[in-house]
Symmetry: D2
Subunit: 388 residues, 4 copies
Amino acid sequence: MSRQAGNLAFVLWSASILAALTHGQEAKPRARELGIPFDGRPGNWNAITDVLGVEVGHATVVSGDGKLQVGKGPIRTGVTAILPRGRDSTEPAFAGMFSLNGAGEMTGAHWIEESGYMEGPLMITNTHSVGVVRDAIIAYQVKEGTVGPSGMRWSLPVVAETYDGWLNDTNGFHVKPDHVFSAWSGARSGRVAEGNVGGGTGMICYEFKGGIGTSSRQFSERGRTYTVGVLVQANHGLRSQLLIAGVPVGREIRDHLVHKQETGSIIIVVATDAPLLPHQLKRLARRASIGLARTGSVSSNGSGDIFIAFSTSKVDRPARGENPKVEMLSNDDMSPLFDATVLATEEAIVNALIAAETMSGIDGHTVVALPHDRLKQVLKKYNRLVER
Amino acid sequence: MSRQAGNLAFVLWSASILAALTHGQEAKPRARELGIPFDGRPGNWNAITDVLGVEVGHATVVSGDGKLQVGKGPIRTGVTAILPRGRDSTEPAFAGMFSLNGAGEMTGAHWIEESGYMEGPLMITNTHSVGVVRDAIIAYQVKEGTVGPSGMRWSLPVVAETYDGWLNDTNGFHVKPDHVFSAWSGARSGRVAEGNVGGGTGMICYEFKGGIGTSSRQFSERGRTYTVGVLVQANHGLRSQLLIAGVPVGREIRDHLVHKQETGSIIIVVATDAPLLPHQLKRLARRASIGLARTGSVSSNGSGDIFIAFSTSKVDRPARGENPKVEMLSNDDMSPLFDATVLATEEAIVNALIAAETMSGIDGHTVVALPHDRLKQVLKKYNRLVER
Amino acid sequence: MSRQAGNLAFVLWSASILAALTHGQEAKPRARELGIPFDGRPGNWNAITDVLGVEVGHATVVSGDGKLQVGKGPIRTGVTAILPRGRDSTEPAFAGMFSLNGAGEMTGAHWIEESGYMEGPLMITNTHSVGVVRDAIIAYQVKEGTVGPSGMRWSLPVVAETYDGWLNDTNGFHVKPDHVFSAWSGARSGRVAEGNVGGGTGMICYEFKGGIGTSSRQFSERGRTYTVGVLVQANHGLRSQLLIAGVPVGREIRDHLVHKQETGSIIIVVATDAPLLPHQLKRLARRASIGLARTGSVSSNGSGDIFIAFSTSKVDRPARGENPKVEMLSNDDMSPLFDATVLATEEAIVNALIAAETMSGIDGHTVVALPHDRLKQVLKKYNRLVER
Amino acid sequence: MSRQAGNLAFVLWSASILAALTHGQEAKPRARELGIPFDGRPGNWNAITDVLGVEVGHATVVSGDGKLQVGKGPIRTGVTAILPRGRDSTEPAFAGMFSLNGAGEMTGAHWIEESGYMEGPLMITNTHSVGVVRDAIIAYQVKEGTVGPSGMRWSLPVVAETYDGWLNDTNGFHVKPDHVFSAWSGARSGRVAEGNVGGGTGMICYEFKGGIGTSSRQFSERGRTYTVGVLVQANHGLRSQLLIAGVPVGREIRDHLVHKQETGSIIIVVATDAPLLPHQLKRLARRASIGLARTGSVSSNGSGDIFIAFSTSKVDRPARGENPKVEMLSNDDMSPLFDATVLATEEAIVNALIAAETMSGIDGHTVVALPHDRLKQVLKKYNRLVER
């Protein structure tokens, strides 16, 4: 097979294609369907897309098997795009960040901290492909005539990453601009594919196969309903650390270990329709730490645990010459949002573990999926399985 | 009884007196002695004082009963002093801070962030007494001729707080300079009194009686043994949130509730003899969040959850004209310190709950202690009790 | 004279009394009246009080002469109170901070960073009196039934400081709660006393007598007029560094030097009626650095250069059950506010130097005022004097 | 000419080639040679390369003239590489950052903040080429077998930018991986080319032609000599703001204006051989603000003013099993470093203005160089010209 043909053979799934593929088959159960107890009430999709306007697209790049040949594969990687206001909006969204352990990259951070705004999409990929994704976002915006989204002539895209070099030929730089366009243009509301998809394709979580996971929470306050949605790209943790519903699952399922020391990372994206100002969104981003902690992580030295929260609340633009008015949730009303963020983060991580499937990559490295049956046995042992 | 006599009637315990008082009686069990499972190996005292040089002193101010008369009592408050290098040292210690939720005060923060040094003692008291404690520290330093510790002519003391106004006449301002001197001069190594003592006297934790708690961890790396010690002043959380060893204890023990919404706080102090630079100590301070999260907190809006970590590692001062040399732990060796910080924080909080005793304060408000027997039953229900 | 009588002899001026005292006499010229060139258009008072609602009060404590007797004097100190919305408001104001060099204290910082709000007054005093001022603010709020301003049961006051120990018996702790009440209750709009008043009484700036200075700028944008007001407590700098209007004044006037190395500090308070969110106010606070830089400071190691900006813009509270709406200036419209902040900061510092008068304090230490005539000669030499 | 040939026609200068080119011709004067007064004593090259070990390389990409055809040119851009320890070292350097106004990108920031280390080179380019430069650095490290420099299997390169879209076809993405390799492999100690070179090729400063500038300061303390070197990529400011030696030069030379509002940025890199810890380097990075302020900038809304400081001080690695010892300058000795940073930053910016030459770019846009003769006249008018 020629190099060209090999390139063509890259399997490229966008979320919509994936959805089609999985339409006919019985859906895999998600974490709560297995009987894992979670608190709080999720939205319709139990996904970040429950926040109205948020769209998610994946480009998954999988090709080849066997021995690593740098530049040729095997390839187990991709890109995930999160669009705060959908594919067609160029309006910014208030955002705030928090770095629990900054052994990672999230570009665009300086401008978010300065301006309070995230402009354009948020993308997540592998560590060594952040640059190509960043510039491809600009190229797409140039093509669409929207550089930069807030009317400036430049763009400072937001791209985050985790490292997939144990399964993927990560130094072969296999993410290409077309994958970025594909993830972006394929973004949709509704069900979000989880596990070995998009940026999460080659990821490892508590030494089980990890990747993309998502969850959401809804609650009512003073007569209004608010939604918090979380999406994670989970690539962190040692087996011995894993807690699910407070149960030391990682100590009970000790086979097929991968690491000697943690070298992974987790990117956590929190979306909400609650009208939060940038400094309030930083508060939400910090709560992602607590959700992560509930699954057992201590955020090790080499872990790039960087979190971002954004609000889709609209800005009310009055007559010309007037300043915009922005709605603002009182600080006193924020604690339920903290609860929602913590709970949705915890469940999103477990959803990634439940959805991901055993994968082999470079040099025959194999990472097994968390076995559902054994997990249920362990939960039962600790009286934490929700029987149906 | 005259006002003077009333002042004299303030019961003032320093840690050393308390130690004497408790010498003859059977010691209360600590958390792990009850069969609560904790990971890692604690030091000799399972206390922050396991870090060589660290001394702790409490001044506990308890007086009166019945209806609140602002300025007269009832009084349930105090001060806790933590001396990084003992009572007599004026040498600074590298330090770093983290505010998980800044609804609280920790003075001296700007200089710690700027200089990397904590100079002098760290004290914890009630919210409305931070000022008197701060200035009393300076007065004590002036008396001792050590203003400021690093040779400057001024001092920027480090004083933190949590709010005790549900049990204490906190607007009566009952902490006085003499309590500060007493806590300072009474500071000792060895066993640390926990529960209703010092700054923790009137505190409430997950709607049980809270207060001071401490724990430590030791581990060896490359032939050296490092210690991490944690002391908390725990005044945070709703009952429904409480997790112990991952078990939803707060949902199982639902009587004697106190709050409608969380209004408390927790100050966490992390000490280590590992040679960490200031930016590395900030990493440790952030890990206190994870230990806190493991007990169920989401760090609510009104919670002043401010953490500080310091190292007692000595600076090697060579010949005049040379710069000091400081030992530095490699970042790659830090993950075990993160584990230790998380685990000691978790246990210190539970120790505070186990040590604290039921207390009545102003207007007959009563906060009950976490009942040990019922806790053991709950742990057993979830197969998490360590039988002896 | 008895100790009691000595206490009574403390000369206590509130701003209103000072205003009366200076009413009959010819007012000292301010910096721009001397012919120093400044850019931009000041408000009516060329003071922080040009921002509608802002009130300023000083309590100035001056007593005794001659040799230092710690606890007795001589005394050269005080407190300055800045009330964002006037004496009677308990409504919070959005605020943001920046520490250019944190060798100083500004309490309340954690809550401002967390909540975005400054609640209650901002006070500035000497380094060793921060505690007493902090707690006295709470005592005053307790008395007025407004603890804390935002409806919480506790208060986290904002108190900043610079060090006056070269002129003042600063270890005698001469600032008392009554001075705090006096500064607060005496706060007024209108002209602001400058120089040796309030917290600025014993301060030294570029080795000339320093203290309180203020200035303002107004500009119109999209048909609306915005005001930025600045107040400084200036106690920083070496003579050799001093620049005025870009001219190296400090090198030209080299007599009556005081320091061997800089040990001072500057607190800068920026007020505006522009509707800025907390993260935008941090941007303003950072610009105070640039105004300071224009007077020659490099913000030395021992300098506590901590800045705070707040907005008096009102929050629009709609019907019950709705969230408040806040007006927000577009980031794109902020640059003129940056100009205004820089220019008003620069002029406020020079105003402090121009207003302050030669003072002698402990042990006969004397700090001379910047001589107006020589300053004009120097400006003329560099073709920068505005002739009238 | 074919597209291929056009690519080859890109004019690519590395610093070494440039040095050769300029060898035979009379060197342009630098700022201080024109008689502009600067304080302090520069090093041998008055450049960042005076800090032993630091090497700088430029790749300058200039091609075409006339009307903009996106993707074809005209091209006025490039890359500048700064290697803290020379081309061959993979040892990290302590570093610290500060964002005065974060309307820009500097990748790698999270890891520098977390670890205290800058690993690998620092590169500066145009805004839309940050991604390609970032990934090309990794590709180079992969090729050299040094991913990542500290022994990790991944790399988080540090790439900063300013916007050159007024002169350059910036949306044509003309910076290619080969330019990155060229700047890196061509890096040298010694004289540093300034003005229209490397990342600075298409930059505009105070509406004059800007670009790369550099300067240094040396001073002795306690018998040791320390060097501070600064390199800027200057693309900021409005003409009316420009101050040189405190003189309002921008108001005196008012022709050939470019902007209606500031849209530029400045990246400032501070290098020193003083043994500073990461938190101390953040202090240095903040002082770059003061040097920038002295040239008149207020750091406008759209300005990406992001600064980084690193130390080349070596880590002393003792016997196996021991922790490294690092030398540390006392905080008390830092003020002269602050002076040096401020002064070298100021001079580096002016050097960029003095070195840059008039350039025409896309659509015939022309930016003129600061005219040396008129500058001297203005300085003379304000009695600030140093006559020789």
